[in-house]
């Protein structure tokens, strides 16, 4: 069972960015009638989304977030030992997008860089990997990037998915902790591949390289099965994390959920006995931003008002795979939490 308590890593900063183009579901969307849109957006809680232009990819958003974060922290790129990118929308089939970003960020060749293909659970898995690398003693500083451009694989005429997804990128700075850091982090990760077909882009890779139907390049979602999976699997995950970390809801400043569906998050929070005022949301303004949704939501929430001490957060990811996981960890009060709008400079190759 993938449950772990790992020490030795401190979170120094989280920066997220979104593209500048905003789509308001109720006024900017031509495919469905107003009543239909209101019904969908009320249930999912999504008023608007940000969508990348045709020349903007995951690497652009994550590189921008990474640059901003390194500048905010005053970290020299030459001090980064590993770069992890977790995404379902890499720039290319090959090479790994992490290698592209390593070069663009000016990180030296002595850095390990690799992609991980996960979406909704991306941030938790990325954090677990980074923590493990640091705890092993092999890496002093790790840059974790999670980002996605789901707008590029969603069918604008599919009622089930068209109004849900937004694009975003994020960067998180993680390093070996100093003596003063309280760093124990608790992870639970799980997988059920039997549900892989419930959220899938079936064409375009090597199983179905050149599908005859263009729709095979688009996202197919069985919303009922995903909804059922989430309400069944996430409450026990939260209970697991409370038990593993010997904590209770009152010990947390934030419970940051993957932003899949506002109604569902509120339902789960209520079922788990969480104070809803400690559950931040980004879905209303930015939609479901996939791999970037947890760091974007955390960055938007910002440090708690008047925080004069470190604080506990629980981060929860669940969805495509099916893959789900959570982490309970402590955020240093000096941790940078920031976000910005990405403005395209010029096309990149």
């Amino acid at each position: 069972m993938a449950r772990a308590a790992i020490t030795g890593m401190a979170v120094r900063g989280v920066v997220a960015c979104v593209p500048e183009k905003q789509i308001r579901n109720e006024s900017d969307y031509p495919w469905f009638d107003a009543a239909e849109i209101r019904k969908i957006t009320a249930m999912a809680g999504i008023k608007s989304r940000r969508v990348a232009g045709p020349d903007v990819c995951t690497s652009d958003l994550c590189t921008a977030a990474g640059q901003a974060l390194l500048e905010r922290l005053g970290w020299d790129p030459t001090t980064i030992d590993a770069l992890i990118l977790v995404t379902q929308t890499p720039d290319y089939v090959m090479p790994s997008t992490s290698c592209v970003i390593q070069h663009r960020l000016g990180i030296p060749v002595t850095c390990a860089a690799f992609d991980v293909a996960l979406g909704c659970s991306a941030y938790v898995y990325g954090m677990w990997l980074a923590n493990s690398l640091i705890a092993s003693g092999g890496c002093g500083r790790v840059l974790l990037l999670t980002g996605e451009t789901p707008s590029k694989f969603v069918d604008p005429k599919d009622r089930t998915t068209a109004l849900l997804f937004g694009d975003a990128g994020s960067a998180t700075a993680l390093e070996a902790a100093g003596d003063g850091d309280d760093t124990r982090a608790y992870y639970v990760m799980m997988t059920d591949g039997s549900g892989g077909g419930h959220l899938i882009v079936p064409g375009g890779m090597f199983r179905n390289r050149f599908p005859a139907e263009q729709s095979e390049f688009r996202l197919h979602m069985d919303g009922v099965q995903i909804f059922d999976f989430t309400r069944t699997r996430v409450p026990p995950l939260i209970e697991d994390l409370f038990a593993l970390s010997a904590t209770s809801p009152k010990d947390y400043t934030y419970f940051v959920f993957h932003q899949a569906n506002q109604y569902l998050i509120k339902f789960i929070a209520s079922k788990a006995g969480l104070d809803i005022s400690r559950v931040p949301f980004s879905i209303g303004e930015f939609g479901n931003t996939g791999a970037a949704s947890v760091p974007l939501t955390l960055a938007l929430a910002g440090a708690p008002q008047g925080a004069d001490d470190d604080y506990n957060v629980m981060l929860l990811g669940f969805g495509v795979g099916l893959s789900w996981g959570g982490v309970s960890l402590r955020i240093p009060r000096a941790c940078v939490l920031d976000h910005f709008v990405y403005h395209q400079q010029q096309p990149t190759t």
């Binding site: 009638d33 019904k39 249930m43 089930t160 009922v224 099965q225 109604y263 569902l264 339902f267």
Partner: protein, 80 residues
């Protein structure tokens, strides 16, 4: 159960246009009862009537009459 109220509720849940849902409707006759319609129904059953069914149970339902039977069994839309 007040079947008329239940059918009106289903008309709103499925966001059916130009007509009302009838007791004889099925998945085949009701275009709005697609994947999204099922999702809206699943969440509304839970949120508004505290009726929790699984995705597989919902998938097994093919007729509006079955939804009405479920609502009736759970004492929703009780006749005044």
């Amino acid at each position: 159960m007040d079947t008329e109220r239940a059918l009106q509720w289903l008309t709103e849940i499925f966001a059916v246009k130009y007509r009302s849902v009838t007791i004889d409707d099925t998945r085949d006759s009701l275009a709005e009862w697609d994947s999204l319609g099922s999702l809206l129904l699943l969440s509304a059953l839970e949120e508004e009537h505290k009726i929790v069914i699984s995705a597989d149970e919902l998938e097994a339902m093919t007729a509006v009459r079955q939804i009405c039977d479920l609502l009736d069994k759970n004492h929703a839309f009780r006749a005044a």
